[in-house]
Amino acid sequence: MTDMTMPQMTMNDAISAALAEEMRRDATVLMFGEGVATKRPDLVAEFGGARVRNTPLAEGIIAGTAAGAAATGLRPVIDLLFAPFLCYAMDEIVNSAGKLRYLSGGQFAFPMVVLAGTGGGWGVGAQHNHNVEAWFVHSPGLKVVMPSTPADAKGLLKAAIRDDNPVMFFTDLALGYAPGPVEEGDAVLPLGRAAVRREGADVTLVAYAKSVGTCLEAATRLAERGVQAEVVDLRSLKPLDEETILRSARKTGRVVVVHEASRLCGIGAEVAAIVAEKAFGQLRAPVLRLTGPDAPAASSFPLEAAFAPQPDAVVEAVLRSVGSPAARPVELPAELPVPA
């Protein structure tokens, strides 16, 4: 179980491995999308052209086909490439896959997975880079996943494929090529469980995808200044692991949520609202959000890089939180370090 003994794999490779393993395990799993067969010749070779298909360039019918197939015996995985392209498939995902189980009184299930990449790192601009995961968290009947490590990507994708509900599986484009340890074999990671990436008593940093790394980096710097940050990686955005969030929030009394997606009605808002309701009594400072701005992402590299919150900003926010003369003074525990 230690990282050293495990094979290293990129997130992209972990996803490929999960796909291959699940297709091997279950003959009803199939995959299609624009260029899927071209880009995954290994899967075509092993499973044949019927189960790994290129499609016409039309996200709506790709998603609708997945929903129709899912309800009638197949378990499709579709690759819609970049998150903004989901805009063409909203009816099929939200109105059909998300609602027709309910509206039919439970007659159908939609075991399907929608892959989409998102986030900065490629300089491609807002029509390829727009973090819209919150839309799907807001919509009923869907589950939403966004991993930060190759191991999680593999385990969560396997769980998503086995789940009987439509799962939106977002990959952060900035993380695709970074290697990480991935356990061999059939490690399925249940949806809905956050991971505490680092323990700490002074402040809880809640994040997902690339922002987990940002928070870990910030936590390292904070530790140098005597502040122990706990880093919670949500992994599943829906179901959301309220318990882990609240356990940490109640312990530290200070919460900063960090993500690349825009602020308004984002995941950070949801986490802040949960904390403000359910950990209110234990809070010692305002709940802070560090997020992308209410703006489209630019292509220009420096602007793109500035879009997502950076470690410096997290450090600064935490120090503000820890050191702020609380409007409503609270008893600081004796051991709480004062920032330098």
Partner: protein
Amino acid sequence: MTVLDPIRALERMTLIRAYEETLVALHGEQRAAGTCTSVGQEASAVGVVSALTGDDLILTNHRSAGHLLARGADPGRLMAEVMGRSGGYCKGKSGSLHISAKELGVVLTSTIVGGELALATGVGLSRAMLGGEGIVVCFFGDGAACQGRFHESLNLAAVWNLPVLYVCENNQWQAFVHRRETMTGEGFTAHAAPYGIPAESVDGNDVEAVHAAAVRAVETVRRTRKPFLLETLTYRLRGHYEPDDQGYVDAGELAHWRARDPIAGLRRRLEERGTLAADAAARIDAAAKRAMEEAVAFAEASPHPDPAELTSDVYA
């Protein structure tokens, strides 16, 4: 079913008409919600559905009563659904607009105009990959054919060889807009050729003609495992949704189509042929009336869903 029994067809069309007129009346008495009726389009529904076998799957839309009843749906459970009762096909959650009945092979009804077209290819893909003789029939309107999904669906079905019979029920209206305002041509079959999809247009108010065309189409899809487009030219005799005074409808056009009522027409033809027994028409009407009384009684006796149903069936 390759030979249509016209008496059975008349019975079924009469039942559909009675069902929808009952709902209209109940709506007037505020005992049922408004619905999109298919009055005037019964021949299209019965003619096509009677050409299918039990293995075939149907997708339909907001104007589904004809398709469901033609497929043998229980009017009581349909009515219960429209009234939002737990005895409905969808436990009352759907209401009239998205009724599916999986046990009848009527799957994934969507009231998003175009939604059924996007789902149909997926159902066709399951049929194609999981084997069997069954085909998929997707009913949609002339309005839905204006959505780009119509083309995306035809194209994918053609490229992937999916056994989907597309049935465009061209009833001349798209809610409050006449088809003429939304397109330059008169129908949709011309769109099939560039996809290499065979197509046929048929008088949608003549159940025998529809049936014959549907038999040919179904047979073609079953044999070739490829799509086919059938267009039934018909007319929506009532408004889009009850209540609707049809004030925007041209009186002459309406009169023209009323004179072509598919039920009266069939009855007349059978009488002319001498194949409708003297009291048959009255018997058929009476049977439909009785069925409606039973249906209403069943539906009104069915309880509303338990409040817990607010959040059940969301996730599998």
